[in-house]
Symmetry: C2
Subunit: 125 residues, 2 copies
DNA sequence: TTGCAATATGTTTTTTCAAACATAACGGGT
DNA sequence: ACCCGTTATGTTTGAAAAAACATATTGCAA
């Protein structure tokens, strides 16, 4: 989206980030973990989810672990060994959190869209 | 703010950041530069503004410069030398951008407040 | 009982980004 | 001509985050 200030013209976008955080400012769920949980839900595998979201398995695993430690409950139920080597799926709480966050994001996007419109109308004289 | 997912209880906050960015993803104006510009407007000095916002002069100066390079116009008109050593004040465009962003922030905060309320109502069943 | 694929973790290296440090230039006032 | 406070900028150091690397463990199935 483009805008102008006075007679000066430029290309700018309104961007935002949103995330859930603990009292002590440790991130719980933002875009990164959201994508990860989402893919786990779809693929049933932490490894696949990591690949899909373009992060290393090591990072994905650590990321989930961190969040769980902060929350005090499991987001993902994982099993290792077995015919497929193992698998991962969202815990009920993980699933609910994912869903709640999904809606939250939608609400946010909608609001931002409105505000953006208003903002650029204003800025463009 | 507290919430629960299923029967699991935890303390979480909804956090967010908002900023203006160019097409190539270079930040133009977020909370940091906003505070800086604001203080420049008040104090008439980049040095004072840096102190007030708790960043080094070096950083403040570089931050303004970066934004200006991206935008292609000056946000701050600066003079050096003279009886007071020099001074800085917002350009007309800088002033207008500051004002527009102020309103933007207000709108955004308002929306977030509503969304937050809804979110935590939902999460707490 | 061996192989396989995925989960589980510790360790090391690289990258990135911020903070600190150092120094120059400017121009009015004394 | 020099002093002072502020703007202007290059350089170096340090710390934190991310990526890369290395290995172990598990349990089904052949």
């Amino acid at each position: 989206m483009a805008g102008s200030v006075g007679d000066k013209y430029y290309d700018v976008f309104l961007k935002y980030r949103l995330w859930l955080s603990t009292t002590n400012d440790k991130g719980i769920l933002g875009d990164g973990r959201f994508a990860l949980l989402n893919e786990i839900d779809i693929t049933g595998s932490l490894k696949s989810a990591a690949e899909k979201t373009n992060i290393s398995y090591r990072k994905a695993w650590g990321s989930i672990k961190e969040a769980e430690e902060q929350l005090g409950f499991k987001l993902v139920e994982k099993q290792r060994g077995g015919k497929d080597g193992g698998n991962s799926r969202l815990s009920p709480e993980g699933k609910q959190l994912l869903e709640a966050y999904t809606e939250l994001k939608e609400d946010f996007d909608q609001s931002v869209k409105k505000i953006t419109k208003k903002f650029f109308n204003k800025i463009n004289k």
